[in-house]
């Protein structure tokens, strides 16, 4: 029998990381909680950036669900040649430095880019538009959703679907009524992770979309810009993002615990 590690030792060493993970956020919130917080939140820079962030992440999340669910199902349920390679390629954006992701996207959709050049000939410009913001978010965040859903589809017993089909449910109905409800926790998890990652996207966005108020300057970009001119506004936005992310994580915990 192996002796269990003493809790004292665990707490002692674990405390180092716990403090490191909690203290910075606390410092931010303490500094942001100033009398002028309310007025800073109403600053046009904040409201414009917040609106843009909400709009772009809504689009990128919707696109992730629509296009990501089939990808996850395909990878979970089918075996084919080159699958390992494909899975690695689809996970690549997760480990790529965001700046590299932005550069790659810019070389794709920029004016001289692989797709950007022919598109420009047709009068379509993607780089430096809100579409580029969505593209950057989709690129860096959607693999998180695909990963969550892939694992969920894999762990859903196939014989449950088969049973539904023998009970005269159509394939689509079996998928909708049996498979989807079972994958709900993973769906929520995937959406939360993808949305928060998209909301916080900075590196890829600033490279492929640039930073222009109202068009491409999302919350993180606005925070970066305001840091040098109006610290109060930057702090207010930082506090919003932190609290929103934290509330979402708590909600997610409750949801998954109750199911």
């Amino acid at each position: 029998m192996r002796a269990r590690l003493s809790p004292g030792l665990l707490i002692g060493t674990g405390l180092v990381l716990m403090i490191l993970l909690v203290l910075p956020t606390l410092a931010l919130l303490l500094r942001a909680a100033r009398p002028d917080l309310a007025s800073a939140l109403l600053d046009p820079t904040v409201t414009t950036a917040l609106r843009l962030s909400l709009a772009t992440t809504a689009v990128s999340l919707a696109a992730t669900v629509v296009f990501g669910t089939p990808v996850a199902y395909l990878l979970a349920r089918f075996e084919f040649r080159g699958k390992v390679l494909l899975e690695a390629l689809l996970d690549l954006p997760l480990v790529l430095p965001p700046v590299v992701a932005g550069l790659a996207l810019l070389l794709l959709v920029g004016r001289r880019g692989l797709l950007g050049a022919p598109l420009a000939a047709l009068g379509v410009h993607v780089a430096f538009t809100s579409a580029a913001v969505v593209l950057a978010q989709l690129f860096v965040a959607s693999p998180l959703y695909v990963r969550s859903m892939k694992a969920a589809f894999r762990s859903t017993p196939r014989n449950l679907e088969a049973a539904a089909i023998t009970l005269h449910a159509s394939r689509l109905r079996a998928f909708r009524r049996v498979t989807l409800p079972l994958t709900l926790p993973a769906f929520v998890e995937g959406c939360v992770l993808t949305w928060t990652r998209a909301l916080g996207e900075f590196g890829a966005t600033i490279v492929v979309a640039g930073s222009l108020e109202g068009r491409t300057q999302t919350m993180p970009l606005a925070i970066y810009a305001e840091l040098e001119s109006n610290l109060g506004v930057a702090l207010a936005m930082g506090a919003i993002l932190t609290l929103a992310a934290f509330a979402l994580l708590l909600l997610f915990r409750r949801l998954t615990r109750s199911t």
Binding site: R111, I206, S229
Partner: protein, 262 residues
């Protein structure tokens, strides 16, 4: 046999890692490090200055940190341990000196001018072309010195070219970048049609050319330099500052396209 090979490979790997770490962490024994925070536009010039300073001052290492002067000023105000600050405008310098972080007054050491940077094959030929509909124009952020100078220049243009012209130019702006080098990079990558940068930035880039901006619209561009208290080694910092302001220092700056201070 395989075990042996594996063992040999592992020891090699460990040795490589240790050697790489040693290389990264190595600072010559007793070396003194002068930390210089300098505006993005000074990247090439100050890198060269630092190398030649190190060559003539044994045992001194010049650590360089380049970013927008506005970013550097913010970092210094938040307690970044810098010995020397070279700003691309007096506004960002004033943020630091207003906080009383300097040792002695700032000294102007260089000037510059604005140009339009455009891809070599682009059809942008004159200043007027900036107002052409559909042009993708990139500026630096308003708080970044070169972005602030560009705004000043456009304000001057509104007086001579009319506000309709300037509105047309402004509507072509697709991004306000975090520093001058990233602003220039957007053109160098072919992602933007034009950018407003310093004349000195156009020098080191290939595949681009610069279009002049009428002298009447040029803002006064001044680079001030200051020694800071925060670094804690005033003598070494002072010596580097004196080197930048010396005849060879100013000549090196001139060779990178900087003008004498106005």
């Amino acid at each position: 046999m395989w075990r042996l090979l594996e063992f040999v490979a592992m020891t090699r790997l460990v040795r490589c890692v240790v050697a790489a770490l040693a290389l990264v962490l190595a600072t010559p024994a007793g070396a003194q490090t002068v930390r210089v925070f300098a505006a993005s536009s000074l990247t090439d010039a100050f890198t060269a200055l630092a190398r030649s300073y190190e060559a003539t001052h044994r045992g001194v290492h010049v650590a360089l940190d380049f970013a927008a002067s506005s970013t550097l000023a913010t970092q210094i105000l938040q307690g970044a341990p810098a010995d020397v600050f070279a700003s691309a405008n007096p506004i960002q310098m004033k943020r630091v000196t207003d906080a009383g972080l300097q040792l002695g007054p700032p000294t102007p050491f260089a000037g510059n001018s604005l140009v339009i940077l455009t891809p070599s094959r682009s059809t942008v030929r004159t200043f007027d072309d900036l107002a052409r509909p559909g042009l993708l124009l990139v500026l630096a952020a308003p708080q970044v010195p070169v972005g602030h100078y560009a705004d000043e220049m456009l304000a001057a243009a509104a007086r001579t070219y009319g506000s309709a012209f300037v509105d047309a130019v402004r509507s072509n702006v697709v991004s306000r970048e975090p520093n001058v080098r990233q602003t220039a990079a957007k053109v160098a990558l072919g992602a933007a049609d034009a950018a407003i940068v310093y004349a000195s930035d156009a020098r080191g880039l290939t595949g681009v050319r610069s279009v002049t901006i009428p002298p009447a619209l040029q803002p006064t561009i001044v680079y001030p330099l200051v020694v800071l208290k925060s670094g804690g080694q005033p003598a070494a910092a002072q010596a580097f500052r004196d080197f930048v302001l010396s005849r060879p220092g100013l000549a090196a700056l001139a060779s990178y396209g900087f003008a004498p201070p106005p």
